[in-house]
Symmetry: C2
Subunit: 371 residues, 2 copies
Amino acid sequence: MRDDAKPSDDGAPAAGDGPAGDGEVRRSGRVRTGPARVTIKDVAERAGVTKATVSKYLNRAHGYAMAPSTRERIRAAIQDLDFQPNPLARGLTRSATTTIGLVVADIRSQFYPELVHSIQVATEGAGYTLVLGSSGDDPARELDIVRSMAHRRVDGVVLVAVRSASDNIEYLRQRGIQIVLASRDLPELVADTVVVDSLAGARAAVRHLRDLGHRRIAHVGGELTVKPFADRRRGFELETADLAGRAELPAATAASTIEGGRAATRGLLDVERPPTAIFFATDTMALGGLMACADLGLEVPRDVSIAGFDNVTVGELPGIGLTTVDSDAARVGEQATELLLRRVLGSGDADPVLITRPAELVVRTSTAPPR
Amino acid sequence: MRDDAKPSDDGAPAAGDGPAGDGEVRRSGRVRTGPARVTIKDVAERAGVTKATVSKYLNRAHGYAMAPSTRERIRAAIQDLDFQPNPLARGLTRSATTTIGLVVADIRSQFYPELVHSIQVATEGAGYTLVLGSSGDDPARELDIVRSMAHRRVDGVVLVAVRSASDNIEYLRQRGIQIVLASRDLPELVADTVVVDSLAGARAAVRHLRDLGHRRIAHVGGELTVKPFADRRRGFELETADLAGRAELPAATAASTIEGGRAATRGLLDVERPPTAIFFATDTMALGGLMACADLGLEVPRDVSIAGFDNVTVGELPGIGLTTVDSDAARVGEQATELLLRRVLGSGDADPVLITRPAELVVRTSTAPPR
DNA sequence: CTGTTAGCGCTTTCAC
DNA sequence: GTGAAAGCGCTAACAG
């Protein structure tokens, strides 16, 4: 998707561009006709006014005045004709589309559905349409998506769990497109951001393990370039600073996937004197941790206690009962959307706002005192 | 979202519209300026040709001829200027937007992420943008969403797990918008459809339970107005037809949610002589079934065997180990998208196509011989 | 308060 | 092969 300005099928199949002047596409076919669309002109005629007046009616929120009788005739005409303003035309003139872009890394992860849903509901509830992009956690693709959304003139973008932001944010900002970051903050506060308090949450989780009597506690963290993951790790370190040496507190870093957590956990447990508890930076990794325990014939929580972070739905299931920290994804999504829409509507503070939501410990059955 | 033709801020904050002529909104503010956008006119000037010629270059797939030298100059100009055709303008004239709508019931359900992801990847890979709508499984909202997408001139719509279709499909079809149904078929083949073989899958699951020695088998089904659910139930009935009376084969119907499955299962198990195995119409319900067992102090599979349908990710987890039937959501999504894009591009059969994918049994640890 | 007049950026006949 | 002109459906000054 590098050279966006290629022939009509701008966004042709990912396949190679082939030799110079290939001509594969046949967009030709059927000419979308359907029932004659009713336009603003039809409404104007039926109401006995001009398009301009109808437009003013449609944009009356802009503060146009209008004779009640005219207003009423237009209203009636619109209703009779079942008129719908064409969003494309509107977008073309106003350069605003009542559309919000949502960029996520990968919807399949246990963590997103709740977040995406809340964002979807919030945008839709405000009359905006949601455009979805999935980056696969690849910064390059993320930028492609952001560019594509910018060209489509979305009014704003929710960046969920961005990796790094410099390019994206710069690009959007230059084009006057509003931005909000959800669930992952960045080292610098470059845009409105809504996250959960990772540091406090991690401390609570680790303290819980200590309160149970654990002393050999390990940590499986996410990539440290991701700030919330770094914060969680730091929380782990702060709460274990007084404990013995590094040997007692092994830490690993893994991709935030089930497989990532599984592999890292195996490495951590398959040693002489394994830890009695592990704190994971995400529930997804913790689920992998559970698999690793099963792989090694260890029982949770008897042989090892497991704690995660996020509170994904499946953690509640019997047979899982994952002790975790609630990231309150739904509220994060909602609040992020609110912030974004506020900016889109022109209010909003001059400076970026950071909202850090409290993180609550949720104790279930995957943690218990060490043997 | 009923009256779409309301004032400009068609999608004002959910808050009340207040007294008659309130004037709260101030869209006024910042006038989205940004760096002067480069248009086809700029390209034309730089290349020393007219907009028309540039347009022909852009649409060369339509089969326009052009002098190689001109072609080259235009190509260079586009590159130098980093020109991107404005999709809105293009959409306005061509009445096609390289956009696909995706309508799901509720992304939060365990089943969707995989499906949505595959659709997302497939559309994006073909250069289309995905617009997401979530109906909450409410037919009225579903229609609202479909209408909104139609107004935005999406080229096609993927309807995932529609409930009933008459209105939606009629509406879209009238407007020449292509349609494909994924994961749920309808009694009548009204549009291209991709589903898994529910009947065969259900039979395989039930046969598996019988092979293990179960005779008192229950079924927790989804609403029978949903064809795949009806098929799964029918599969259950066919495979148990020779067994004792109805008392041995209780069946319940529930909403396809964890809670739905949980409640239904409790009802089924909390009796004199409970079944020794339960076949669920969906994994989501089966997870609820697992919770119900825990609630009642029953152990799976020792006291009761549990089998589901869909093969959601969490089913693999140790502690869950759900025996199920694979719905192959990813492939269903992919194939549905392919079918849709084919129609959008003007190929595609005259009549609707039905693709029924094979359903494969996946045996895990939630099923075992009865005691 | 309402109408006139220009476009927004692109496509598309129809000439040349 | 390329250009001129009209128009997609709407908004936005500016008049009156």
